[in-house]
């Protein structure tokens, strides 16, 4: 079933004419002519569409909250920051189907009463930003965006904002700070952006993939969508799969597809016929799964039950030759670098965790370090101000739990070397 990738492979897919032949801009006129904002929100609620940016929050509920707040002007922000290491799926929508995103944003705007939209795109996607700007001009020329859309009296203007290089700006409140021209540091939540967002006004922040689902839901109905995948999180999902697989790439599959099927049927199995060792199912922020967990289903609830998370659906696969301690350390360096510095547990904690990890890798660790790591990680997880710090410890905690022997190998090799050198500790 192809919903989000239906236009991939068409000639000139990003052009408005290609979009129009495939039911493009059919949902927006229907919404404007036949539906009230409440109808639109109800339809999205019936679809049970959940946010694809990582948290899986029900989109209909988010729109409802923003629509109930009477203060204006309201804003729709499309989160195209796509910074989670291992994620490259929003890029596919942006490059191959930008109009699906624009149409979804306009419908969201109508539903919540917003007149202005921003697309916050990561700085590493300059081509994507150009494609979006071109698509916006094409849509404006045909009155699908801009003032008085299709003579309905509804105004909706979209601006593209290019990120300047900060992973934390994918977090919705940091993103808003950044849009306001400030350092991208997270705000306290609550209040949530639906009430106090851009310029302290009601704001909906949705991921690219979430918004790209909107027009098809309106056209075919919420109950059609709710019947795809699994009941608690319906629909298809874009999985970015990378690492040691034969065919890395983006795959659109029903929510809840087993990890084994994703890796071995769709992504062509492990490179060079080697064995599977582990996968991070939701990028750097997720805990790893080992070979005994290959049958887990890839959806928000199943992965949470397995002690990890779906996040943005970035599956990083490692084969039997992978070094789990090094892999966890690479992720930790990333979080240390990307910590926004606002709160102590994350800013200082992740720094120390990384130091201990490097020590272990250099053969200077001890078994007590593993307990120390888990202890610090627990403090970081429970006391960090935002999701970055909270999730930063997942790779370490999960690898210590599931691949403790690899940590011990470094520790014991190091202590043997020290004994041999006559400086036994």
């Amino acid at each position: 079933m192809k919903i989000l990738t239906r236009n991939v492979g068409q000639p000139n897919p990003a052009h408005i004419d290609s979009y129009l032949v495939n039911e493009g801009y059919m949902a927006l006129p229907r919404v404007l002519r036949e539906m009230s904002p409440e109808d639109v929100i109800d339809e999205i609620k019936i679809s049970r569409l959940r946010g694809r940016g990582g948290a899986g929050f029900p989109a209909g509920m988010k729109w409802d909250f923003a629509s109930r707040d009477r203060r204006t002007p309201k804003h729709i922000i499309c989160n195209a920051d796509e910074g989670e290491p291992g994620t490259f799926k929003d890029r596919v929508i942006i490059e191959y189907d930008p109009h699906a995103l624009l149409e979804g944003m306009a419908i969201a705007g109508y539903a919540v009463g917003a007149t202005r939209g921003f697309i916050y795109i990561r700085g590493e996607y300059p081509e994507g930003a150009r494609i979006l700007e071109r698509a916006i001009r094409q849509a404006e020329a045909r009155s699908f965006l801009g003032r008085n859309i299709l003579n309905s009296g509804f105004d909706f203007v979209i601006t593209v904002h290019r990120g300047a290089g900060a992973y934390i700006c994918g977090e919705e409140t940091a993103l808003i700070e950044s849009l306001e021209g400030k350092r991208g540091q997270s705000r306290i939540r609550p209040p949530f952006p639906v009430n106090v967002g851009y310029r302290n006004l009601p704001t909906v922040v949705n991921n690219v993939e979430t918004l790209a689902n909107v027009a098809p839901i309106i056209l075919r109905g919420g109950s059609w969508y709710a019947g795809i995948g699994i009941a608690e999180c319906p629909g298809t999902k874009l999985f970015s799969i990378s690492g040691n697989v034969e065919k890395p790439g983006v795959y659109e599959l029903p929510m809840g597809v087993p990890l084994r099927e994703l890796i071995f049927e769709h992504a062509g199995g492990i490179t060079g016929g080697r064995n599977f060792k582990a996968a991070f199912p939701g990028g750097a922020s997720s805990g790893c799964l080992d070979a005994s967990e290959l049958d887990v289903r890839m959806d928000f609830n199943s992965l949470a039950a397995a002690g990890t998370m779906l996040g943005s659906g970035a599956v990083v696969v490692l084969d039997e030759t992978a070094d789990m301690v090094k892999a966890a350390c690479v992720f930790t360096r990333f979080f240390e670098h990307e910590s926004c510095g606002k709160c102590t547990p994350c800013r200082e904690g992740v720094y120390w965790v990384r130091q201990i990890m490097e020590n272990i890798l250099q053969g200077r660790g001890s078994e007590a370090d593993l307990d120390l790591l888990l202890d610090i990680c627990d403090s970081i997880r429970t006391t960090s101000f935002c999701g970055l710090g909270e999730a930063s410890v997942n790779p370490i905690v999960s690898t210590i739990k599931k691949f403790r022997d690899e940590y011990l190998a470094y520790i014991h090799a190091g202590s043997q070397e020290r004994t041999a050198l006559g400086e036994a500790s």
Binding site: E82, G83, E84, P85, G86, T87, F88, R91, R122, G123, E124, Y125, P126, E127, H161, R162, G163, A164, G165, A166, Y167, S178, L179, E180, G181, K182, R183, G184, R199, S240, I241, S242, G243, N244, P248, G249, V250, F280, A284, A314, V316, L318, D319, A322, K326, A327, V330, F331, F334, H337, E338, C340
Partner: protein
């Protein structure tokens, strides 16, 4: 006892090339093109960087003054985001991914090769200003691992040999452009 200022110093001072004066007109133009300035600091600084290749201190100060905000606010923003640069950079920006997906597909060998052929490490610029080199966390093209980005273009599925060829082609293009 030695003099604080020797004749040698004076001679050097006299012979030194006059420092290039920075043309700040583009900053005025950029600011003027943003009629609604509130919240536009980041796009404005991005445009300034587009013009100069980096954000010169004088340009940042001028932007702050024209926008009526504190200079410290502008520097706070400039130093927060990794894509802003306060010193001149190479004519080409080469970014290599050191993320996990690239790492497990030989990203390290590509990075090592780049550092060797360019003769510089992370965050450095070649003496002839040909290129600046950076290691980054993930370029969002993990399906093509290992990946590097040269200016606005991603190059994927690299190995040291392909890396050599890409850099050679870039050097050739660069010298042709400079000859024009």
């Amino acid at each position: 006892m030695s003099a604080d200022v020797t004749l040698e110093d004076v001679r050097e001072e006299l012979e030194r090339e006059p420092e290039e004066v920075l043309d700040l007109a583009p900053v005025y133009r950029i600011i003027e093109s943003h009629r609604e300035m509130k919240g536009m600091l980041i796009p404005i600084l991005q445009e300034v960087q587009q013009v100069y290749g980096y954000v010169p201190e004088e340009a940042a100060n001028l932007a702050a003054d024209l926008m009526g905000i504190y200079r410290s606010q502008v520097f706070g923003v400039l130093t927060f985001y990794t894509q802003f640069h306060l010193t001149p950079r190479g004519r080409h920006i080469i970014r290599a991914c050191s993320g996990t997906a690239c790492h497990v597909r030989g990203g390290k060998t590509v990075i090592n090769r780049l550092e060797t052929v360019l003769g510089i490490g992370h965050g450095e610029t070649t003496e002839d200003r040909f290129a600046s080199f950076e290691k980054v966390a993930c370029l969002g093209a993990c399906g093509l691992a290992p990946v590097i980005m040269i200016d606005n273009d991603a190059h994927g599925q690299l190995d040291p040999l392909k890396t050599d060829r890409i850099i050679e082609a870039l050097k050739e293009m660069d010298s042709m452009r400079r000859a024009d």
